[in-house]
C-alpha cells in the first residue's frame, strides 16, 4: 500500500501534468494582466486554491505548487533513487523542494506595505498596499485614541461586526473594490446619514493599476436607539472624516489600508533625488533617516538597492512625493517575509547539484565522432 502510494505520488506523469497546468496558468495569468491588472491577476490565478471559468472550478497556483511539492517529496522516498550516479539529481531536487517550501511560507506569512514619511516627520505604521480595514476610532479621551478595527475578510454582505468597546453594532451592506462619489440630485433617502445624505457611493470598474482603485463600503449602524442609527458610507482616502456621537463618545469612522504598527519608528531627516540630467528618468534616490527605538535614534541611509533590515522587516526606497514648495516626502516599501532566505539556500543547493550531475555525465554527450 505504502509503495503504491509513493509510486503514484512520485510519478513523473504527475510532474508533467502539473507542469503543463502550471504553464497554462502562467500564460493565462500573464495575458489577463492586460485587462485586470497585475494584482487582480495574482489574486485570481496564482495566490488562489481554485478559480472559476464560468461555472467550472479549476485548480489555482497554490494547489498546483502543493502537488508539485508532494511529487518532489515522495520522489525522495523511492528506493532506486539513492545511487551514487544520481547524487547530483538528488541534490538538485532537494533544492527544488526548498524553493517550493519557501514559496509556501512567503505566500502565507508575508506582508507588504508602504510607509509615507514627510521630511521632518516620524512614522511607525505600515499601510498595506491592497488590503483594507474598517477603523472605528473613539477620540473622546484627550490623551489617547481607541481603535477598533475590522479586517477586509469580514466585509461580506450581511456580516455583523461587534465589539465590547463599541456602543453600537455594524452590519456590512456592501463592499466595493473601486468606487466613486456622485452628488445626489434632489434629496436622499430616509435613514441615509453622513456623506450618503449628499452623495451616492457607487461601484465602478476596477482599474488595472490596483493603486488607483478607491474601495468603498456601505454599512448599517444600529443599537444606539437614536437618530445616529442609519446607513453610512465610506470611501478610501476621503478628505473629510466621518464622525458619529454615541453616548457622549465621539467616534471617527474610516476605511483605510490595513495598518501594522511597528515597535520602532522611522524619522525622515532628508530626501535626495538625482535625475539623469534633463530627463525625467531617476538616477538614484535616497532617504536619510533616524531609526528610533526606545527613544534612541540612530542614523541610517536608505537608498535604491540598499535597504534597511530590522526586526524581520526590510525597508526599501520605493518612490517619493514632491510638493510645490519643495518639501519632499519619501515613500518606503516595507516587507515582512518569513520565507526570504529559502530562494538563496535553494539556488546554492541546486547549482551544486547541477554541477555535480554535469561533471559526471556531460563528457559523453560532446564526444566528437569523426
Amino acid at each position: 500500500m505504502k509503495r503504491e502510494l509513493i509510486r503514484i505520488c512520485s510519478s513523473p506523469k504527475l510532474f508533467v501534468y502539473s507542469l503543463v497546468w502550471l504553464m497554462v496558468l502562467v500564460t493565462v495569468g500573464t495575458v489577463a494582466q492586460k485587462d485586470i491588472g497585475l494584482y487582480a491577476s495574482q489574486q485570481k490565478y496564482f495566490s488562489s486554491y481554485f478559480f472559476f471559468i464560468g461555472p467550472l472550478p479549476l485548480p489555482g497556483g497554490r494547489v498546483v505548487l502543493a502537488l508539485m511539492l508532494i511529487n518532489l517529496v515522495s520522489m525522495m522516498f523511492k528506493q532506486n533513487l539513492w545511487k551514487m550516479k544520481k547524487i547530483g539529481v538528488i541534490v538538485v531536487h532537494l533544492g527544488g523542494i526548498m524553493l517550493l517550501v519557501g514559496a509556501g511560507l512567503t505566500a502565507v506569512f508575508s506582508s507588504e506595505g508602504s510607509m509615507v514619511i514627510e521630511e521632518g516627520s516620524k512614522s511607525n505604521t505600515i499601510d498595506d498596499y491592497h488590503i483594507t480595514e474598517l477603523a472605528i476610532i473613539n477620540v473622546s479621551d484627550s490623551n489617547y485614541d481607541q481603535y477598533t478595527v475590522f479586517g477586509q475578510p469580514l466585509f461580506k454582505s450581511g456580516n455583523n461586526l461587534m465589539h465590547g468597546d463599541l456602543d453600537f453594532d455594524i452590519t456590512i451592506l456592501d463592499y466595493m473594490d473601486n468606487a466613486t462619489l456622485e452628488p445626489i440630485q434632489g434629496s436622499s433617502s430616509i435613514g441615509f446619514k453622513g456623506m450618503l445624505k449628499n452623495f451616492n457611493l457607487i461601484e465602478i470598474d476596477r482599474d488595472t493599476d490596483d493603486m488607483k482603485n478607491r474601495p468603498g463600503i456601505i454599512f448599517q449602524v444600529s443599537g444606539t436607539f437614536s437618530d445616529v442609527d442609519g446607513v453610512y458610507g465610506l470611501i478610501f482616502g476621503q478628505s473629510v472624516p466621518a464622525t458619529i456621537n454615541v453616548n457622549s463618545n465621539q467616534y471617527v469612522m474610516a476605511l483605510q489600508k490595513k495598518k501594522t504598527y511597528l515597535p520602532f519608528a522611522i524619522e525622515l531627516e532628508d530626501f535626495k533625488k538625482v535625475m539623469h540630467p534633463g530627463t525625467e528618468v531617476a538616477k538614484s534616490y535616497s532617504s536619510k533617516i533616524n531609526l528610533v527605538e526606545n527613544n534612541i535614534p540612530r542614523p541610517v541611509l536608505i537608498e535604491m538597492n540598499k535597504p534597511l533590515r530590522h526586526e524581520g522587516y526590510t525597508f526599501y526606497q520605493a518612490s517619493f512625493i514632491e510638493s510645490p514648495n519643495g518639501e519632499e516626502t519619501t515613500v518606503l516599501a516595507a516587507v515582512h517575509n518569513y520565507g526570504r532566505l529559502f530562494p538563496y539556500i535553494s539556488s546554492i543547493i541546486m547549482s551544486i547539484g547541477l554541477l555535480m550531475h554535469m561533471l559526471v555525465n556531460m563528457p559523453a554527450l560532446f564526444k566528437k565522432k569523426k
Binding site: V139, Y147, H163, S239, V252, P324, N325
Partner: protein, 191 residues
C-alpha cells in the same frame, strides 16, 4: 506512515486556510492624532455677476492660436509646446469669486492634489505685475500623475477678478511658464 502523512496533509491545509475569524478584529490605543475635525465652514460663493465685460488687451505670442472654449470664457487659446498642446482660458468672476483659497484648492483638486491652508497660499505662489495691477501665479503639478498640471494667475481688479488658467502636463508647465508669465504681465485694459 500513512496516518502520519494524512495528518500532516490536513494540518498543512488548515494552516493555509486559517479558520479563526477573530483574527480579523483588533483593538488598541494610540497617541492622539489630528483628524482635522475642526474644519472651516465652506465659503458661500458670490452670486453677483457683473453684466459688463471689460475690454482686455494683451500681447499674444505668435504660436498661441485662439480656440473655441466654454461660453463662460472671455478668451480661449491652444498653446503648442514640444510634447503637447496646452489649453489657456481667461475667465472673469465678480467680487471675491468664492475666495482665493477656495479656487486654488479647487484647481488642486482638479489635478488630484490635496488642499492647502490659507497660510500656505503665500508660500506656494509668486507675484507678478501686469498693466492692471499685481497678480499671483500658482503652479499645480502632481508628481504622481504628471499628465495633469495647471499654472494659473489670479488678477484681482477692484470690480472683478480675472483667472488666467493654463491646463497642460507637467512638462508643459515647465516649458511654458516664462511665456505664460510674460503674457499675464502684458494684460491691460483698453476702456
Amino acid at each position: 506512515m500513512k496516518i502520519f502523512q494524512t495528518i500532516s496533509f490536513v494540518l498543512f491545509f488548515l494552516l493555509l486556510s486559517g479558520c479563526d475569524k477573530n483574527r480579523h478584529i483588533q483593538s488598541y490605543r494610540t497617541p492622539k492624532k489630528d483628524f482635522g475635525l475642526q474644519l472651516e465652514a465652506p465659503q458661500p460663493s458670490s452670486k453677483t455677476r457683473s453684466s459688463d465685460v471689460t475690454n482686455l488687451t494683451w500681447e499674444l505670442p505668435d504660436s498661441w492660436i485662439p480656440s473655441t472654449g466654454h461660453s463662460m470664457r472671455l478668451a480661449s487659446f491652444d498653446i503648442p509646446f514640444s510634447d503637447g498642446v496646452g489649453d489657456l482660458s481667461i475667465v472673469s468672476l465678480g467680487g471675491a469669486s468664492g475666495g482665493l483659497l477656495a479656487n486654488v484648492n479647487r484647481w488642486r483638486g482638479q489635478v488630484n492634489l490635496s488642499p492647502i491652508s490659507e497660510s500656505e497660499i503665500l508660500n506656494v505662489s509668486t507675484v507678478g505685475e501686469s498693466k492692471m495691477g499685481p497678480f499671483r501665479i500658482f503652479k499645480m503639478i502632481n508628481d504622481v500623475d504628471t499628465s495633469n498640471a495647471i499654472i494659473a494667475a489670479v488678477l484681482p481688479t477692484g470690480q472683478k477678478t480675472f483667472f488666467i488658467k493654463l491646463t497642460t502636463t507637467k512638462k508643459g508647465v515647465i516649458e511654458l511658464q516664462s511665456v505664460f508669465e510674460k503674457f499675464c504681465a502684458s494684460i491691460g485694459n483698453s476702456s
